[in-house]
């Protein structure tokens, strides 16, 4: 057991990798919030009057609200007047027309984070909107998406250029007065992404937004709105990081999804905000409202989240299953380490007939982390033959952490079938012993067990690096990317475009492209480790893996689901190697 705890301790002590600060000149509002600030923000964004009014209404509502205290998290009170509600790099004030005009320092930041903003260099199949503090730096592939009629742009641009769409859907799922943080966000949101997929269009590429907090004393309040018209399909991924600071910073976002008849929206999150240090100093307060409205018949909304960062997470991505036969899904892995606290889960509100929902939540607590699953399944009278399955499992690593489960189940229709299961366990000494006995060292064993624990969520995700983010955060440096699980059936298969072939010439093996090794392994359908000690995602050592049937660049060295490289590949480089 001593070895186990030592290894786990070492791993728990790992530093946050994205904690650097970008040194750019910033324009920030002075701290404080009143009508003047909201008007100034709205004017700065060149918003129409209705938008300003909408914000002011939300602000007035917020001023009359009290901060919720029911969540199972503890933090010292937030002084909302000490936060600056707008901060943007000065170089972006002139709104650059193309990437060439963007401050190279900003581009370097995203390069460091592994976010491809140069379209020609970017991997095919993913469009990125990069948000830096309060503003969007760049959005790639806009033109290509526009060919299909897909709108993908920063929210502020959407308000200016597509006011009719924004006005119709903004606040339709999360009303401005929904809750304390949603009201605050409605008043001061600065940017975010707007996605509109017209009738019958399958969005040709993955959409992705990358949020970065950089400035001190600011909060980030972004607003995302995704609308999928009848028969449309879109898959969206968000990622986020922030510098290491001793102070706490507030991130209060609102995400709204609307799916009409037969539409489907898949929303994935890799949340890796700065979690604070070992003593719990600093870190982001992540108070987010996310809700999807499955409005049309047979529509589908799927949330996948991997929550590894943030000092405090308060987040309940929900689905309102209004259309008959609509489907809601929630797959979550939440990891709390050191002094992190997470209170997260989902709400599934069944309104339509034959609606189905599926909840799989995996919580991992280590160090002094406190992890809470809080969920509600509500089956209304109208929801005949509704079906729900919930599973929430917790894993505890170390004896100072806690895992809590609070599922609320309200069933008002007897034809509904609902099942809820929960379990809590630790990594058993016997399991570790079994692995050790078979020549797998403790670290690998822990990694393997954690992977197995989370496999139901990972298997739903396009992002094989979700896995590495998780294992890295909680237990082991190594993460085995099981390729079969990295390429789910719904994910757009990697296209062997000439361009990507050029950038990955034959003979390029994973060693020369460490950051991409993860995706590389992901495309190989047949593979096996040469030894149990080999590490799939650990860059140089991954050459030790043998990919029997995929030596050719088209099948092996090809970048796969690009989102993997977008967000997580930097993180998949283990610090141990």
């Amino acid at each position: 057991m001593t070895t186990d705890s030592q290894t786990i301790e070492q791993l728990a002590n790992r530093e946050y990798q994205f904690g650097f600060v970008t040194d750019v000149e910033q324009d920030s509002f002075p701290p404080g919030l009143d009508e003047g600030v909201v008007r100034r923000l709205s004017a700065l964004k060149g918003e129409p009057d209705w938008m300003t009014e909408w914000r002011l209404k939300a602000l007035r509502h917020w001023q009359g609200m009290r901060e919720p205290t029911w969540a199972n998290v503890r933090y010292s009170p937030i002084d909302y007047q000490a936060i600056s509600y707008y901060s943007a790099p000065r170089s972006l004030a002139k709104s650059p027309k193309s990437l060439a005009e963007v401050d190279p320092e900003l581009l370097r930041t995203y390069e460091k984070l592994g976010i491809p903003l140069h379209e020609r260099e970017a991997l095919a199949g993913v469009a990125v909107d990069a948000v830096f503090d309060s503003v969007s730096v760049a959005t790639t592939f806009k033109a290509k998406l526009a060919e299909q009629g897909v709108l993908f742009c920063p929210m502020s641009e959407a308000i200016r250029e597509h006011p009719e769409l924004v006005r119709r859907y903004l606040g339709s799922v999360v009303p401005p007065g929904d809750n304390f943080f949603a009201a605050l966000n409605s008043a001061v949101f600065s940017d975010g992404s707007f996605v509109f997929v017209p009738r019958g269009v399958r969005c040709p590429m993955e959409l992705s937004t990358y949020f970065r907090i950089n400035a001190r004393n600011t909060g980030q309040f972004e607003r995302t709105l995704i609308v999928a018209e009848a028969g449309a399909h879109v898959s969206y991924l968000e990622g986020c990081t922030a510098p290491m600071r001793d102070e706490n910073q507030l991130h209060a976002a609102v995400v709204e999804l609307v799916a009409l008849d037969d539409a489907s929206i898949k929303y994935s999150t890799v949340q890796n905000w700065y979690p604070g240090d070992k003593e719990g100093r600093g870190g982001i307060y992540n108070f987010v409202t996310k809700r999807g409205l499955a409005k049309g018949r047979r529509s589908k909304i799927s949330w996948t989240q991997v929550e590894t960062g943030s000092a405090i997470t308060w987040k309940y991505p929900s689905c309102i299953l209004q259309g008959d036969e609509s489907v809601g899904e929630f797959y979550s892995v939440a990891v709390t380490n050191n002094r992190q606290q997470a209170d997260t889960g989902t709400k599934m509100i069944h309104v339509g007939r034959r609606t189905r929902s599926n909840i799989v939540s995996k919580g991992i607590s280590a160090g002094h982390g406190q992890n809470t699953y809080r969920g509600q399944v509500k089956i209304l009278k109208s929801a005949a033959d509704a079906r729900n399955f919930s599973q929430c499992d917790s894993m505890l690593i170390g004896d100072q952490c806690g895992a809590h489960t609070f599922p609320y189940i309200d069933v008002q229709n007897p034809t509904a079938q609902m099942e809820h299961e929960a379990s809590t366990s630790k990594i058993g000494e016997d399991q570790i012993f079994y692995c050790n006995q078979r020549g797998i060292d403790t670290e690998d064993a822990v990694s393997m067990i954690v992977n197995g624990f989370c496999k139901e969520v990972f298997s739903k995700s396009a992002i094989c690096t979700l896995r590495s983010t998780t294992t890295r955060s909680c237990t082991a440096s190594t993460s085995r990317c099981d390729p079969a699980r990295c390429t789910p059936s719904w994910a757009p298969t990697a296209r062997a475009s000439p361009r990507s072939r050029r950038s990955w010439p034959a003979g390029t093996n994973t060693t020369s492209a460490p950051a991409k090794c993860c995706s590389t392994a992901a495309t190989c359908s047949r593979w096996r480790p040469r030894s149990a000690r080999a590490r799939a995602c650990s860059s140089p050592s991954s050459t030790r893996w043998r990919f029997p049937a995929c030596r050719t660049p088209t099948s092996c060295a090809l970048p796969s689901t690009p989102c993997a490289s977008t967000v997580a590949c930097p993180s998949s480089t283990p610090s141990r190697s």
Partner: protein, 448 residues
């Protein structure tokens, strides 16, 4: 009843309390008087629970707050109560009967209790008796967070203290019957029970709360059960009050080192039945089993609020609750398992299953886990639904009619708990009730 009126009453329960007067027993020591004062003070301070409180979200007790309850009249019609209780008795049990909250020796089993058992009525307790149990009474029941337990602590008039001697093996179950007769005015009683099982004692206790078919009564029992090291106690509680009654109970069980407590609650009557159950596994190796069954119809509400505290290592708890709901009945299940930091190797299991027979029935289930130790195995499961179509189809394909098939499956669902009852006469009584309760029970009677 408007919300405003409720809160007004809730803020000023003084008038409501005044109707019930004060309670004071002969020879009651100073410490008990102080405990009563604390209970009443706490209740007056917080008032009636409101639906905006997390613990009372689904159970609205406004009807209790707006009804004026009186103490039952002093004279007891022993003969009438005896007739009513004729069918309630259990064969081969030592019975202790309380009518309208007061001990009636004439109706209780004659003679001394079985060897190893001491039974005291609180109202008849002498100073020497109080010396023996005065300090224990009310020591564990949580009056801070349980408003009706606070109320009952302030107002109890009688009750039973049962002591099982260390090492005693008591074959004869002790059966406490609390009978509420029908009165013209709504009446309130506050039965109080303390069960102490000495080291390695083995015994069975049955609590029956029964009432006339109709009549508004408020029954707020507080039961404390302490099982010392190695004791094994079987506890049964049957709630079969009048359909207009309010039954708001607290059951507190504490299991010491290696003790084993098994408790089964059957909630069949009452308009609102609320069972707060608190189990503390306070010694290593303690094991607690809490099972429950509720059968509700009409506008009945059955509410189970469970809290299991694993305070020591190597403790085990099992909970299985089943509910059958018909017509416009409502069921609430709130189960919380709290594993304290030092309670390593805890094994906790909690299951809540609910069967809805009608479209208007409603279930609110909220199983919760709070875990602060790392080496534990905790699971909970909750299901709500109708009868399984496939099972019905299977029976029909074998020539059993639809109604009969449904009845058989409903019976099987509920009988799972009933059959765990180890007190034979009680089990038979429950089976009879179940057969009479489920639709088309006569079909099942032929089959089982």
């Amino acid at each position: 009843m408007s919300e405003g009126a409720v809160s007004a009453e809730a803020q000023a329960p003084a008038a409501w309390l005044a109707d019930l007067g004060e309670a004071r027993l002969d020879h009651e020591p100073e410490s008990v008087r102080a405990m009563r004062a604390r209970g009443l003070e706490r209740f007056s301070e917080r008032g009636f629970p409101r639906p905006n409180e997390e613990d009372w979200r689904f159970t609205n007790v406004a009807a209790v707050a707006r009804t004026r309850f009186l103490r039952p009249p002093a004279g007891i019609d022993t003969a009438a109560a005896g007739r009513a209780l004729a069918s309630a008795g259990l064969a081969h049990c030592h019975e202790v009967v309380f009518v309208d909250g007061r001990h009636v020796p004439e109706l209780s089993s004659p003679g001394v209790p079985p060897a190893g058992v001491a039974v005291h009525s609180l109202a008849r307790a002498r100073p020497a008796d109080w010396e023996a149990f005065g300090a224990e009474l009310g020591r564990r029941a949580d009056v801070v967070n349980r408003p009706f337990a606070a109320l009952a602590t302030g107002l109890f008039e009688d009750g039973a203290v049962i002591d099982f001697a260390p090492g005693a093996v008591v074959e004869t179950p002790v059966h406490l019957i609390f009978w509420s007769s029908a009165h013209a005015q709504p009446t309130a009683t506050f039965p109080r029970v303390l069960v102490r099982a000495g080291e390695n004692a083995r015994a069975t206790v049955v609590e029956s709360y029964r009432g006339a078919a109709r009549g508004v009564t408020l029954v707020c029992p507080v039961t404390e059960l302490v099982a010392e090291a190695g004791a094994a106690i079987d506890h049964y509680k049957l709630q079969h009050e009048s359909l207009d009654a309010f039954h708001l109970a607290l059951f507190h069980v504490e299991a010491g080192r290696g003790a084993n407590v098994s408790s089964q609650t059957f909630s069949l009557g009452a308009a609102i039945a609320r069972h707060d159950v608190q189990a503390v596994l306070g010694g290593e190796g303690a094991e607690v089993t809490l099972n429950g069954l509720y059968l509700v119809r009409g506008r009945q509400l059955a509410d189970f609020h469970m809290r299991v505290d694993h305070a020591r290592a190597h403790t085990t708890s099992h909970e299985l609750f089943k509910g059958v709901l018909d017509e416009r009945a409502r069921g609430v299940f709130n189960g919380r398992i709290h594993v304290h930091p030092q309670a390593q190797k805890t094994d906790a299991k909690q299951t809540s299953r609910n069967l809805l027979l009608s479209a208007e029935a409603l279930v609110n289930a909220n199983p919760q886990l709070e875990i602060f130790a790392d080496d534990v195995r905790c699971t909970h499961g909750s299901t709500v639904g109708q009868l399984d179509d496939q099972a019905i189809f299977y029976l029909r394909s074998r020539g059993i009619g639809l109604e009969a098939a449904r009845s058989l499956l409903t019976y099987a669902f509920a009988a799972d708990i009933v059959e765990r009852t180890r007190v034979e006469p009680l089990r038979r009584q429950l089976q009879e009730f179940l057969l009479a309760w489920i639709p088309h029970g006569e079909v099942v009677r032929e089959a089982v």
